[in-house]
Symmetry: C2
């Protein structure tokens, strides 16, 4: 953290955020879940997707661009497959409902997929995959996002960096959780390189015309490249098909990003999948095998002693333990933005510094 | 193709290969499928995984390292989820049976997953995902492979470059087919850079100690790096869990690669998944949407006029059309190896040059 950061208690931040969401029109229960999802993301250390986004979410709920009281409806139901109309509700509320339903289907059929359309930005994909893992199931979550990745050789973005997450229960201290997006790097990593005065590899980003650049500032004002060139590009297409195409939602240029179109529904689509592993493997056996899997990775030798061999989800677990104990760091301007927003909305909640 | 390459007719190559597999102990039907899978891979242009591998497959069938007459048994069955014991049979025969069964499950429940263990090298992942797409279903196929990828900072390979494929029917000239592995590049690309005398990016491969190198020859004798560093690494772990861990097969260092252990079963595991899309979207509507999806990608502007915006599977389709018309190019030494093998096995089949 920066020296100027403010440390806040995670439970305080949760109550504060929930009060704002409730004031913005959400039901108390939905406000709680939405707030929890953002605070969890901060606890995992993914500050780009936590309460940093609270102001724009609240603004869109207040303006009605995002529907605070969506009427979620199942519009297609075919044994293990379902499609839900999100009624332009918050992605967090639509995403949770879709994953809850996928888990229900998996309780009956050992497997469920629920697609959702007419949704909005859903935060972090891991929020939903972890719901399945918490119930002993393998969970997969994904979303399309507005076009922000240029194909190698292309002049303008063709696809989003469509994030996805896979979570697997381990019955240990934390679940296995992969949560990645399909650009080579995030915009944040370009800013970091710029701050350090470093050049960037030519496969990270392009200028405004789609031409590869090693200048992080040029790339930040240009476009992202897909991770692993055609590999990440192809996988982003797959996610676009599983979300926008197969749910009957919009896809590719049909979406409206919340920053560029703050007053419109984003028309985002998600896909949630749950697999009831216990139907084919006892939890005890899974625990044994995942422990062995993790131990083999942990004990693999490193030439770089400053690095550690971790499994996906491990770093987030450590950060969560530390931040629960010591507080969540917020940049001063974000802290001020949040407290001003509370005042503006007439919310009495306070956000004490630790 | 190289000037010294031999062109052979794809149907001749298919008959020739099937005769060899039958002589190696496979049933006529299994020999046909195995041969077809390899010739298809050559038709798609993936020469590294086509009949180039025929000699080692035949050798392993003859020695019994790979069981030519496997007794495939379903050992776990739980509505939409099944696990199959491959009885150390060829990956192509086990993989086909697993995907056929997943498709059957999807005909009943709109979804099926079949995992398989005690299998061997299965060729290309697309062979199986395409089976689902040919029946109007979305298909996913994956396999673990022997550890060949080093984690950034690690001294030795920890995971395979676990390939996977996703196929989606388009009802157009060819299906959407993504088929990738999770190393940054293949060994073949390192050889190509070496031939051209080019340096390679530092995130492609390492020396024998796991340290990044820009020398393609050093990397070829060292290890591969995962595509997109921790992103590809994490996804390779996911595939290892879905194959080796959840099928009750072996994982990570438990496998025995066919080149290092030619006389042992490889103990490979696969996972096949089929989704009956037509249960939630009419084929006509899917065709319309996939056509729109493809057209939007095709018509996206390029700054590099030498490149084209293709969808996954398109290049393979073009190559197949060309090679069906003009023949499949085989390097002279491979052509000679194949014809010698036929003589050695006493197979009367010939492989005429076009």
């Amino acid at each position: 953290m920066d020296k100027k950061d403010i440390l806040v208690n995670h439970a305080d931040l949760q109550n504060f955020s929930a009060a704002l969401f409730e004031k913005a029109g959400l039901s108390p229960e939905n406000a709680d879940f939405f707030a929890q999802s953002l605070v969890d993301i901060n606890l995992w250390g993914i500050d780009s997707h936590g309460v940093l986004r609270l102001p724009i979410y609240v603004k869109r709920l207040k303006s009605g661009a995002c529907n605070p009281k969506p009427n979620l409806r199942t519009v297609k139901s075919a044994i293990t497959l379902e499609v839900m109309d999100g009624d332009n509700g918050p992605g967090q509320i639509v995403g949770r409902a879709a994953m809850e339903r996928a888990i229900e289907l998996a309780k009956t059929y050992n497997f469920g997929i629920v697609g959702a359309f007419h949704s909005n930005h859903f935060g972090a994909a891991a929020t939903y995959s972890r719901m399945a893992a918490a119930q002993g199931m393998l969970g997969v979550s994904m979303t399309n996002v507005v076009q922000n990745v240029v194909a190698p050789g292309g002049s303008k973005p063709i696809i989003g960096n469509n994030p996805f997450s896979v979570a697997v229960p381990t019955y240990g201290k934390f679940p296995f959780v992969l949560d990645i997006s399909l650009s080579a790097v995030s915009g944040g990593k370009l800013l970091l390189a710029s701050k350090k005065g470093e050049k960037i590899p030519l496969d990270w980003g392009t200028d405004k015309f789609g031409k590869p650049t090693d200048d992080p500032d040029v790339a930040f004002n240009g476009f992202l490249l897909p991770v692993g060139a055609y590999k990440g590009l192809g996988l982003a297409y797959v996610i676009e098909i599983l979300t926008g195409v197969l749910t009957s939602g919009v896809f590719l240029d049909g979406m409206k990003g919340m920053y560029k179109y703050p007053d419109d529904p984003s028309l985002t689509s998600h896909m949630m999948m749950a697999v009831n592993i216990s139907a084919i493997m006892d939890p005890g056996e899974l625990e044994k095998r995942m422990t062995e899997f993790t131990q083999k990775i942990h004990s693999s030798p490193m030439w770089d002693e400053k690095q550690e061999m971790l499994i996906p989800g491990e770093l987030e677990h450590r950060t969560m333990q530390a931040r629960k104990a010591n507080g969540i760091p917020l940049q001063m301007n974000l802290y001020e933005e949040l407290t001003s927003l509370a005042t503006e909305l007439g919310v009495p909640a306070t956000l004490s510094k630790m």
